[in-house]
């Protein structure tokens, strides 16, 4: 990276220091604006209402945990967390299983219509969810499936599948054919090859997918809003919109609610950053 400048060339050195300063300043500005909104939520959730009314931007003079206690005691709040976790687990499971089966066929078998199916599935990645909501809602209500977990899990799995199939397939095709052939010689059937060779080898991709999908389900609003209407069945995101109306005069309490939804994702990010980046980049480009 560093090409040495002639020593004693003070003008060039100064200029270099100046440009380095500007670059550093730009990055500091980026870092500040990236973190500030999160800082704002966290800091205000430890304030009393009086302290919040005085200043929203200063640090709290006294740190109170009262808001968190109250928000956890709010009706159904913990239930919303549990619902979200359940939906995420179900959707990710269905996605991974059906996704690897499909990706295996698309990546490792030759059949009529393979290319067409592949293109079709990829193009679904960008179909806006709102387009499907009305017919799905009508259908689900006719079968009495609104306000049920399986309905939402299957819709979530549908939303996650195109991306997952794309990602898994692009990994499956990188595995050398010789490896699969020797497994076949050793007596593996086609399902055995998937289960014993492809799936164990693609653990990192599976994990990246797990992270991206969990994140997606956690943050999802529209589908949960439409299909989980009973208060005790809401996800944490829909629950938060409910808190918004209920505690609009007690903002620090509201902020505490937001913090509890934000912090788990930040923790996930800190521990799984590598996988998240890999999943996102590979999801748009081939690795």
């Amino acid at each position: 990276m560093s090409r040495r400048k002639r020593k004693g060339d003070i003008g060039a050195l100064l200029f270099r220091g100046f440009t380095q300063g500007i670059k550093q300043a730009l990055l500091v500005l980026m870092a500040f604006s990236t973190i500030y909104p999160v800082y704002y939520v966290l800091v205000n959730s430890f304030k009393t209402r009086v302290a919040y009314a005085q200043s929203q931007i200063s640090l709290p003079r006294e740190v109170v945990l009262y808001n968190f206690v109250q928000v956890f005691n709010a009706p159904n709040f913990l239930r919303w967390f549990a619902n979200t976790v359940l939906l995420a687990a179900g959707a990710v499971l269905v996605t991974l299983v059906t996704g690897s089966l499909a990706a295996y066929a698309l990546g490792r078998m030759k059949f009529v219509g393979r290319r067409l199916l592949h293109n079709f599935i990829i193009s679904l990645m960008v179909v806006p969810p709102i387009v499907m909501m009305i017919p799905l809602f009508v259908l689900m209500s006719r079968f009495g499936l609104v306000n049920t977990y399986p309905a939402v899990i299957i819709i979530y799995a549908g939303m996650l599948l195109p991306f997952s199939i794309y990602l898994l397939r692009s990994f499956f095709i990188t595995i050398p054919q010789a490896m699969l052939d020797s497994a076949r010689v050793d007596g593996c059937g086609s399902f055995g090859i998937l289960r014993r060779i492809l799936v164990p080898l693609s653990k990192p991709v599976m994990f990246a997918l797990l992270v991206v999908c969990t994140l997606w389900v956690w943050n999802e609003l529209l589908i949960a809003l439409i299909f989980m209407q009973r208060e005790h069945l809401r996800t944490i995101m829909v629950g938060l919109t409910l808190l918004k109306g209920r505690f609009s005069v007690n903002v620090p309490l509201l902020m505490a609610g937001m913090s509890t939804a934000i912090v788990p994702m930040i923790v996930l990010y800190v521990f799984c950053q590598k996988y998240l980046v890999r999943g996102l980049v590979a999801g748009s480009l081939k690795e």
């Binding site: 179909v127 969810p129 499907m132 934000i262 930040i266 980046v277 980049v281 081939k286």
Partner: protein
């Protein structure tokens, strides 16, 4: 699996080979058909029905007439298109940050680790928090006072002139990290000699950015732009829903909110389906485009 075994297999086995791939595809195709195909066909059907009572009477183009007479429809679509202006802003900022991080400016690892924080933070949580931040007596105006810019204080979300702008700021804040990460990955796969040679030939920072980095990254930038066009036109519901709910007035209504409110609050499924069809047609255009760029992009990574 295709070329695996020699020709002494029985004909039963060969038949099994042919049907097998479809069996593996079946569960996924079932879900995709149920979640995408059926609803897409059905929503087109719905747009011609009077759905106040099930199963609905055929009323021809009546729903289209209602929507085309509704000023809220035009306003919503207009706001979607206005949000497209966030894209050039995101591209420029993301490019600059990506290049700085690629140059390994002091502390780059730390800065890089921050990039995706907005992306993992739930839109709902940050949106609700920001709706308080943007209030007249909210954090932003307090910050402005602190740094002596009191004259810039205003009703960020409460005034129709600024509400969409404020929502756009949060959209940019959250979506930009993805672009930076994408650009950074592409820069990493670029041969370092290219930049080094330009530097030795005396090309300055901006020149290198414009004449080397941007052309090298054209495909990934195009891809990011297409993806975001689709997002701005059809995937920003949570932002407006939690930050403004569409208000004040109709100043932050977008097509998705129109569809949602018509269908689930005003019980006007037909009008809602019409706008869904419009949105579908618009996005199909961009799906075709995004597809072309994805293929181009994959070739570059071979």
């Amino acid at each position: 699996m295709s070329s695996g075994s020699a020709g002494n297999k029985s004909s039963r086995n060969r038949a099994a080979v042919k049907i097998e791939p479809y069996l593996y595809m079946l569960p996924a195709l079932f879900i995709l058909g149920f979640i995408y195909l059926y609803p897409v066909v059905q929503v087109v059907h719905f747009s011609f029905l009077d759905l106040r009572s099930w199963p609905g009477d055929f009323i021809g183009l009546e729903n289209f007439r209602i929507v085309l007479k509704d000023p809220r429809f035009y306003q919503s679509m207009l706001h979607n298109f206005e949000l497209l202006l966030t894209i050039p802003v995101m591209v420029v900022i993301a490019l600059i940050i990506a290049v700085l991080l690629h140059e390994e400016v002091w502390g780059w690892k730390f800065y890089r680790s921050l990039l995706l924080i907005p992306y993992v933070v739930p839109i709902v949580a940050i949106g609700i928090a920001m709706s308080h931040f943007f209030k007249l007596h909210g954090g932003l105006n307090q910050l402005l006072e602190l740094i002596g810019l009191k004259s810039f204080q205003r009703q960020w979300l409460g005034h129709p002139t600024w509400s969409l702008f404020s929502v756009a700021v949060i959209i940019i804040w959250r979506e930009i990290g993805f672009g930076t990460v994408l650009f950074l990955a592409r820069l990493g796969s670029m041969p370092p000699e290219i930049l080094e040679a330009a530097r030795i030939d005396g090309a300055g920072w901006w020149r290198r950015l414009w004449c080397i980095v941007v052309p090298e990254l054209t495909t990934v930038i195009e891809f990011f732009v297409i993806i975001n066009i689709i997002a701005m036109l059809s995937q920003i519901f949570p932002y407006v829903f939690v930050m403004t709910g569409g208000g004040p007035g109709y100043s932050t209504w977008v097509s998705e909110l129109y569809i949602y409110k018509q269908a689930f609050q005003f019980n006007k499924m037909g009008a809602s389906a019409v706008v869904a069809v419009v949105l579908l047609i618009i996005t199909i255009t961009f799906i075709v485009l995004s597809f072309r760029f994805r293929e181009k992009l994959s070739e570059q990574y071979e």
